[in-house]
Symmetry: C2
Subunit: 371 residues, 2 copies
């Protein structure tokens, strides 16, 4: 069988060249050699986040970085607006609640997205709100939020916009500075083409000013210490040396391709996957689909787990089931990072068709699928 193809919404396949760099013989982190890596990585992260502001790297999962954005920029009893279109929106909501904030929750049914007008209305209703929390790509449903339009609203308000772009960055367009996004959170194992273990947070001027006002305790995830160390090509604590050398390689690959070309590749593959699914008569869950993954509704009588098992066992293709209430009802076909090529998508779609057919699915018509 061919090498396994990870079409899950993270972790995704990691290029061999990146893996190789993560496994170079160890070096100490307080050396000129590693400082040069940090200097390049920090500069290149800014190019990928499209920001001139600091992009911090932490050893943690993406959730750690989400929590860090809350504990460093907000205070107990702050009013925050949570815009949740699924499991990941709920996570931001839950973190803010754990820290004792006054969280006003806006929620969407699975597959639906918030509009900028809805965010604007919520801000009008809550003029004291300090932050609006939202996801770029909500991986539980495959929905993409219109961050550019939303940022146009939040940047004129008193609320900072926190974007969980953990799975979205480099798959869906995001222009942090140009759009006026205050905080962007990301993880390593999606668009960045890395193993899991690193997370990132970028903070603009408004967010950096908020650091001093936060009354929440923090130690490991400390933005002011981390930003200070970035300026010295250093880190407050021992960094994940291997993963950061892999990041250096991955950033080089991404910038050689060009961030806009990376977005275009994701858009093209995503469009193809959506069209093929439609040609089978299958419905997408997302009304406003992300280019990071496509969530397809299972037709009556088919349980997604059965098809997923066939894909995995007979084709070496790994896709994800729905989470929570969506378990059994959708298949999530990711096209992220290094596993976002037309070859990968075709292999994935071929496996999908075979598995669905074995699960008893008959497409509504037999007309050949055109590309």
């Amino acid at each position: 069988m061919k090498e396994s193809l990870l079409l899950t919404p993270g972790p995704t396949n990691v290029p061999a060249g990146v893996l190789g760099k993560t496994a170079l013989p160890m070096i100490h982190h307080r050396t000129k050699e590693f400082q040069a890596v940090l200097e390049r990585v920090n500069a290149n992260l800014q190019k990928v986040f499209l920001t001139r502001h600091p992009v911090m790297t932490f050893a943690s999962s993406g959730t750690g970085a989400m929590e860090a954005s809350v504990t460093n920029l907000l205070s107990r009893n702050d009013q925050v607006l949570s815009f949740s279109a699924g499991k990941w929106g709920e996570r931001y909501r839950d973190i803010a609640r754990v820290y004792g904030m006054d969280v006003k929750v806006y929620a969407k049914a699975s597959g639906e997205a918030f509009s900028a007008a809805e965010v604007g209305k919520a801000l009008d209703d809550h003029p004291r709100a300090k932050a609006a929390l939202i996801t770029l790509c909500e991986t539980s449903t495959g929905v993409r939020h219109p961050i550019q339009e939303i940022a146009a609203v939040t940047s004129k308000s008193g609320a900072m916009l926190f974007v969980d772009a953990i799975s979205g960055l480099l798959c869906d367009p995001l222009r942090m500075d140009e759009w006026g996004v205050d905080v962007v959170v990301c993880g390593s194992q999606k668009g960045f083409m890395l193993p899991p273990g690193l997370s990132f947070v970028a903070v603009n001027e408004r967010a950096q000013r908020a650091i001093a006002g936060s009354d929440l305790p923090k130690y490991y995830f400390n933005f002011s210490e981390t930003i200070k160390m970035i300026k010295k090509n250093d880190t407050p604590f021992t960094p994940a040396v291997g993963l950061i050398r892999g990041l250096d390689e991955a950033l080089g690959m991404i910038l050689a391709e060009g961030v806009e070309n990376v977005w275009r590749r994701h858009a093209e593959v995503a469009r193809w996957v959506r069209r093929e699914m439609s040609s089978l008569g299958l419905a997408l869950l997302a009304t406003a689909p992300s280019d990071a993954l496509t969530a397809v509704r299972m037709p009556e009588g088919i349980v997604s787990g059965d098809a997923i098992k066939v894909m995995r066992d007979s084709h070496g293709v790994v896709m994800a089931d729905g989470q929570g209430e969506l378990k059994g009802k959708i298949i999530r076909f990711a096209h992220m990072g290094a596993a976002c090529t037309m070859d990968d998508a075709r292999r994935g779609f071929g496996a999908f068709c075979d598995a669905m057919s074995k699960a008893g699915f008959k497409p509504p018509s037999l007309k050949p699928v055109k590309e």
Copy 2:
């Protein structure tokens, strides 16, 4: 030149077989294949910590795990006793302060260690104390604390014993359950022979009972969620898949050698290094030296940085300078994990002698050094 030899107190050299496992093609973390890795890793971590209690793994530096032990087991306004013999003891103190605790600080001069009697006296003076915070090996000075004797005292008191064993575990003996240590914190880049990026916390019954009583907010570092997931061979958040597969390999190597044999190897190498240093007439900083590293005082007129540079540039041997006030005054010669063999120690000592001689040091006598 030979491959660089990292004799710094972390990161240390990582065996090629472990590096190879960290760089295997990526797999998804919610699969039978990875669950089998987690099951084995969790069982083997217990064998290394010498505990039947859960050992949690986090993607973070060791500092994150130190903070986690405080936020999960203690509460705001709790009285805690900080026993600090250097920079790492100060870190535990600082974390407890950040979380609003009533920290009673006991501090030692550089190179000195606390005795169990001193800890007992402090506990007698503070019968309300909820915790005693101490390091196993204080890497800033090379001191080892007598944890067995200290635990004999704390286990009869109302205070839990938190041991920062980040650099000490697997280098200095620690028998968590037998000695009655409540909390053991560790990192991946020392005795575990792994790249930095993982941390560990083990908690005994008393510590587990304390989880429910803690009023501090936490989300990413959440012991009760993590322990629940360990029982299902799962993790609350996406784990650092590559590093954990490396951990699996490293644990296999450690257990094949045997934990007591690993301690013995460290003790033998450390004894040899201490004896050679003494034979040069050099003084050790630590009155109670750890087997993880040897901190040697520079004689009058020699600045450690000069010798460190010669070792690095002419011999590919990397040792560490002192930190803070000790900068320039000591050299820290680590013998940890995979870089703890007699060959490594001899290469390190050879480089040290050459560098010291170039820095103008003349040993007090010319009598040949016996082994």
